[in-house]
């Protein structure tokens, strides 16, 4: 295994500091724009800005898009199924967080 070192790199927090263009999301997910448009039409993603010049998305769309696309590919489910799974996963996560808080009260 070859080792390779790098100079100091500074990044930005995607969820807080970054708006992603449609093209950014396509490249980050390695899919064509149509796949992202489908996710918007299904309600999985909500563009923060819808302008004639193009859509832009909040940084949290990155994770949602990637999970939805992975679920579709790996579980061989359709888009509506992936959207439902994603919603239920979000709900489970928020219930788990509540459970942890109540467990401590």
């Amino acid at each position: 295994m070859e080792k390779h070192s790098e100079p100091l790199v500074t990044g930005r927090i995607v969820e807080e500091e970054i708006q992603l263009t449609l093209d950014d999301l396509c490249v980050a997910c390695a899919v064509h724009a149509e796949r992202i448009v489908e996710l918007v039409e299904e309600g999985v993603l909500e563009p923060a800005v819808r302008e004639p010049g193009g859509w832009s998305f909040g940084g949290s769309s990155l994770r949602r898009a990637r999970v939805a696309l992975r679920l579709q590919r790996d579980l061989d489910i359709n888009l509506a199924g992936a959207a439902l799974a994603l919603e239920l996963l979000d709900e489970v996560e928020s219930l788990r967080a509540r459970l942890r808080r109540i467990g401590e009260d």
Partner: protein
């Protein structure tokens, strides 16, 4: 290299029908998909299973695999027999493998290496490089204060001959102050190289925290379990509490029960707004291991008339 028993991995018999294999894959993939599963080894299991399915679902690959014979045991030292796959022709390139690329040595010795140079054919002569994704573990303190850390990533790279190898990359990373678990850091231009005049792709790092000996993070809030002596909880006290920003003095109100939550505003993970810091009170019981200590407990028993089981009706 070790032999892999794909039938055992998928939990099916060697004479299973293609439908049975598909059904087994559906069940296992829902159970172990890393985005869904809470199993600790989900990612490794899923990868193993996706590889097994890639072979067994394809009648050509399955027939070739079966030809190795039924006497191999999982984990047994394996070397493919010479010309083992003579007479088989594999169509397709296996690019529909579930999960990220990366097959076992065993798989590659049989079916060769495959990689997806470009999942969706976005390439043209000049094209932006691919974005890369990785997960990194950082310390909670570094998220609170910001820090510069050396981080080691293992990246699959495609060499000039089209083979996939793993390269270790040491990244000297400035961790942004205020990042929370599950968030991503984008490093512009640190992904795959561009083609022609296209610019390099970006590198996305998903952040997780190493387990901390004292603190637990929940979004931007932090929690600590704070043990108190019985008299501190009963009479009230001012005690010292470690926070990521340093030790603070916390006032404990009299008659604080175990499980009570005290909040320190704005002392969680920094941000706009910053998170809060919660001390979860616990009462630690001193051991009655000396005569003097026993005398104190006996004295309490006499004078306090306390029935901890009153709510149980006894």
């Amino acid at each position: 290299m070790e032999f892999r028993d794909y039938y055992q991995i998928m939990g099916v018999k060697r004479d299973a029908t293609q439908d049975e294999i598909k059904r087994a894959y559906r069940l296992l993939s829902r159970k172990y998909h890393p985005d869904v599963s809470k199993e600790p080894d989900a990612e490794a299991r899923f990868k193993e299973m996706a590889e097994a399915y890639e072979v067994l679902k394809d009648p050509e690959k399955r027939a070739a695999y079966d030809q190795l014979g039924a006497n191999w045991k999982a984990g047994q030292e394996f070397r493919p027999p010479p010309d083992w796959n003579a007479g088989f022709e594999f169509s397709g390139d296996g690019s529909d493998a579930g999960g990220p690329a990366g097959h076992s040595d065993f798989f590659e010795s049989l079916f060769g290496r495959s990689f997806r140079p470009d999942a969706d054919g976005r390439r043209s002569f000049h094209a932006q490089g691919e974005d890369h994704h990785a997960r990194v573990l950082i310390d909670l303190e570094d998220a609170c204060h910001g820090a510069t850390r050396s981080i080691s990533l293992r990246l699959p790279v495609v060499d000039a001959k089209g083979r996939v190898t793993t390269r270790e990359r040491i990244l000297n990373l400035r961790i942004p102050k205020g990042i929370r678990e599950g968030q991503h850091i984008r490093l512009a231009g640190q992904g795959g190289p561009g083609f022609g005049e296209g610019k390099a792709g970006d590198l996305y790092l998903q952040v997780a925290f190493r387990p901390h000996p004292h603190f637990r993070a929940e979004g931007r809030d932090l929690y600590v379990e704070l043990p108190l002596a019985p008299w501190e909880a009963a009479l009230g006290a001012t005690v010292r509490v470690p926070t990521p920003g340093g030790v603070v003095e916390l006032k404990i109100p009299p008659n604080s029960a175990a499980g009570r939550k005290l909040r320190l505003n704005g002392r969680g993970i920094p941000g706009n707004p910053p998170g809060d810091f919660y001390a979860m009170l616990q009462v630690a019981l001193p051991q009655a291991d000396t005569e003097a200590a026993k005398a104190v407990y006996r004295n309490m028993a006499e004078k306090m008339k306390f029935n901890p089981r009153a709510t149980l009706g006894v």
